[in-house]
Symmetry: D2
Amino acid sequence: MSHNSFGHLFRVTTFGESHGPAIGCVVDGCPPRIPLTEADIQHDLDRRRPGQSRYTTQRQEPDQVRILSGVFTDEKTGVQMTTGTPIGLTIENVDQRSKDYGEIRNKYRPGHADYTYDVKYGIRDYRGGGRSSARETAMRVAAGAVARKVVPGLLVRGALVQMGPHRIDRSRWDWDETGRNPFFCPDAEAAAFFADYLDGIRKKGSSIGAVIEILAEGVPPGLGAPIYGKLDADLAAALMSINAVKGVEIGAGFGAAALTGEENADEMRLGNDGKPLFLSNHAGGVVGGISTGQAVVARFAVKPTSSILQPRLSVDRFGAETDVVTKGRHDPCVGIRAVPVGEAMVACVIADHFLRHRGQVGETTPWPMGG
Amino acid sequence: MSHNSFGHLFRVTTFGESHGPAIGCVVDGCPPRIPLTEADIQHDLDRRRPGQSRYTTQRQEPDQVRILSGVFTDEKTGVQMTTGTPIGLTIENVDQRSKDYGEIRNKYRPGHADYTYDVKYGIRDYRGGGRSSARETAMRVAAGAVARKVVPGLLVRGALVQMGPHRIDRSRWDWDETGRNPFFCPDAEAAAFFADYLDGIRKKGSSIGAVIEILAEGVPPGLGAPIYGKLDADLAAALMSINAVKGVEIGAGFGAAALTGEENADEMRLGNDGKPLFLSNHAGGVVGGISTGQAVVARFAVKPTSSILQPRLSVDRFGAETDVVTKGRHDPCVGIRAVPVGEAMVACVIADHFLRHRGQVGETTPWPMGG
Amino acid sequence: MSHNSFGHLFRVTTFGESHGPAIGCVVDGCPPRIPLTEADIQHDLDRRRPGQSRYTTQRQEPDQVRILSGVFTDEKTGVQMTTGTPIGLTIENVDQRSKDYGEIRNKYRPGHADYTYDVKYGIRDYRGGGRSSARETAMRVAAGAVARKVVPGLLVRGALVQMGPHRIDRSRWDWDETGRNPFFCPDAEAAAFFADYLDGIRKKGSSIGAVIEILAEGVPPGLGAPIYGKLDADLAAALMSINAVKGVEIGAGFGAAALTGEENADEMRLGNDGKPLFLSNHAGGVVGGISTGQAVVARFAVKPTSSILQPRLSVDRFGAETDVVTKGRHDPCVGIRAVPVGEAMVACVIADHFLRHRGQVGETTPWPMGG
Amino acid sequence: MSHNSFGHLFRVTTFGESHGPAIGCVVDGCPPRIPLTEADIQHDLDRRRPGQSRYTTQRQEPDQVRILSGVFTDEKTGVQMTTGTPIGLTIENVDQRSKDYGEIRNKYRPGHADYTYDVKYGIRDYRGGGRSSARETAMRVAAGAVARKVVPGLLVRGALVQMGPHRIDRSRWDWDETGRNPFFCPDAEAAAFFADYLDGIRKKGSSIGAVIEILAEGVPPGLGAPIYGKLDADLAAALMSINAVKGVEIGAGFGAAALTGEENADEMRLGNDGKPLFLSNHAGGVVGGISTGQAVVARFAVKPTSSILQPRLSVDRFGAETDVVTKGRHDPCVGIRAVPVGEAMVACVIADHFLRHRGQVGETTPWPMGG
């Protein structure tokens, strides 16, 4: 991963600040002849869009994506398809509310990247967090919408599995439920609880963390580029790069530390199709940095939004001590909108490795191997 | 991170299989005029070397490193220094015990990368795990020994903080203790407990997981290349790429999910030196993907060694179901030797970002910024 | 260089087709606190802009650049400066003349990239050449305008030194003259000749090649990253990547093949400032892939425009033989507008190496070295 | 291209100085299941090896390559094949003649990289040129031997086509002849002339430049990654990165500047196989940065060896003016041994693009495209 790009063959570059004219991205290396329209991308963007419930920031952004390049409509079929050239995307910023930035212009908000951007660059666009704003994640979602189409049969879905100290009951997991509540929560009972819980947090002007789980099904076996381009290593980087993420785990994750070798081993049998079948998935679909063909399972922890109404001790850029209060529109649980973002990052990583694997090894995977 | 290289300006490439003639690495982009000898590297390698206690594999490898290039001895001072050209390193494999590979030649050991390497490449060097062996991590440690010298004042130390379900008591943390017990454990009482505990695991032919913590002090503020080359994202990839690692967290990590914004915020005051001083470090030294100047704190979970004496269900490369038992020399808790490996990876990532930051922004960080 | 990006620390990514909605680029890794406005970039774009004389395509494009991100106006000084975050730029396409593409939709124009794009991707945007159009070079010029500001004291200028078989007289070289004629020609007499010569070519519906020379002054010594990131190697790639370029040379270039060692050696003395002074510059400012501190001199050959009025033998995408005539607006000597493009590419490469060198080695170059 | 690595999917990293213990390289990303032995590589190395005629340096190096990793011998077939893991190669330096370096330790030899390495790094291994020695090219040849096996049907051959001002007669071109004379010259009469000519140069203690041509046949159409990873751009960088190279051209090259569009266009017909057939190859097999399926033709100019017996004006690292004479063993025409090096670089670039293309687009190229 370089500065503002990630991926090798399927490579995404983003730009844009929260309150600048627009944000954008370039998806480079996409295979040609994949049907792709603005509506395809908009569908995913709408899932991440703010202002859709009282649990997310009230900033009103239509997040209308525009495809500037990389697609062409075949005159014969009338189908718009990728051409293999870079796909340029932009979203104009609309609701950059004009306001008084006096409070944050020279003060560093604890937990925000105010101080670190300033100490790194000696200058920062403080309006709405500038480049460090979660607004940037819209372009990750846009890129992910393209990535989803690269790997045939790939299905990447995400869910909020913990808010604050409260975990969902996995026995009630229902993917359909994630579309019915504003939390992307697969457990209807937990979702009802979270509604009340988060109202309480919000009304206090506080915020809370969360844990998100991403499941990628239909990942072909053999993806990953060990030793340093392991599939799980690239997933870890991709997810950790999302705003406010503080931890990433694959499969059993940190829980694996407490297991014995017998417990952790995913035993193998042959499935009805004559292919290897795993009897469990502690590995989370990745062994030795290479996909096993099982579902890839990743979880990540999102810290509480740093913007809270209680004053915190801080310093300013003149080198004086001060207090700071963060007013304005914010998500009381920024983890919620991280669900489609996490999905997008996982889709991008898998698409990239799908192409990388095909490059090195070719299209066919022999099975059985023979002796 | 590409296939077998990582880092951008400080770039490490490794090669070698467990039972091949040698393993090696190339450290490219190292600044010139840094004193560097084989003894410097050997010191770190000796900490990772197997066969030093009954708790690690009994394979006997002197792990004697040889510097093939990239250094030059100044005739006047007699000091051997880096020249800025690539540093080539090799370690000959000595104890590739000649044995019968019948059991694993065609069978896939659950938890090992046998199946995934085979399904990816259609061929694998099954002797001792080939490329997927932990033996490869010796070269990470060697590269890390160079990296430690790149950032003035950098101190990277690691410790085992959990074995199986048992966590250390952090109030007893003593860095000196990590050098006195075979577990790199900073809590003497926990170390004594782990000795018995792991003996039990070992005698049963079982294995157990662990959690490792790495602390990097002396990291200058401003390191990291957001949005996709964030310091924590690169740390996550680097640590997740270590064999058997299933989770990575920074600072409060997964615990941050349960915190409120008030609890999680690291408030700021001015220190005696007039520079910002943080009153806590939930961030683990990284905010917005950029170092704050506090200690960088990373933890990672290591799964239990997959090599265990109990037979497990599996399949073979002919497409038949079978059982497999893993004999041979193994670490009952591979997490132990992951401590110096984790240190090395953190050192490499920080060295790389130190150079990348200097490249983009230059050498000086103004403070205070002014208005 | 990857697909649509180049550079390591100063990294440029472009997108856009000739007749799509817009073209754009992202300049990533630019140092912060560099004054930068749209006018700065527009100045360079206007030099490349088509339709300014009868010797270039009559397509009318205002080429109005828009900065979407990466800059911020300091409230105190009112100066707009880079922030270190990615600089997003777009130019809307205005004059995509609606026309009948029947002639080229299914036919491959010899010399154009019609066949190769089709055989690579299985689809192509044939309108105006799509991605392979010289229109893309506008974004190179925009990126170059930023690059010029990165290296203090850098001056990059270019000139047309040969058109068809006719070389300029170097003894009449006058940089000011390059701004007075439509050929960027530094020799006023040659320019007058070229005006007639090219009128003849144009009226015949033919086209002609050219040689361009780029001179970069103020390049600090020490830039370049041998062995494979040599300054001249990166310059060669950058210039060869420009549309229609078929050859690149540095300093004496192909002429060096005919020289003896004595003739070719650039002898050294000490200048008045006590620093090394070269008595000649056959090296073109680069030795061993590293800048010497002399002017960097690069030349590149541009083939004649492939769009000509005479019918040529060809085939179509149905696999049938055919003839093809290229109508429409074209440059009779595409080499002319390659001058600002070449300047831009050289500036980008030097800016990138300036940052890379500072990353690895730091800011100061000691002289004399001592013993 | 980064510091000491090149290629994206087929990636080569080299290390080693002229008079250090060994030189080496890592070939990463090679496809698995390709038969590969040390003898395969040695065959190419022997063509580049010094000391084989009086026209090359008398340094005696057996250049015995050792494969340290990345291959495995199938027990059943007994065939050693690549495994897809990194291929580590080393060659021990044997004939680092112990000598007095007094003359060059502190003096900068004009034309050599002495000054530039020193001004860049502040330190240099002056023994035999250190990293800037042509000795490094042995590892390029080794990597190229692997690359040749990656693309089915690829044949890459090179020839010396000009020495000093003397060009060969292309009508006498005979590939077999390149193996019969010590100049890799395809024109027997020219070779006889060069023998006398170069004896004269050598006896005077002088040196001379040369032009080399590389022809790659069997390159599939569609290779190349425009806009910045064009096949010809990557070839230009790869060839320009070879020691002493000052110019690179593709197809008609600089000659294209003097052609009209009609002359330069490579017209197309259908071949007997129903595929496009070009009636000429001014393009040198690359249009729009993508291979056409024709032979790829590249030429590069090599400057005269800088080591000559006549004293030249210079300065030393103390900042004093001086004279310098280069004694020792040298090639009077370093261009000769650049032939196998150029072949290797072209093979590596094509192998890389073969894999990159397969990654993005897959294995099949449809023809005809249809409507």
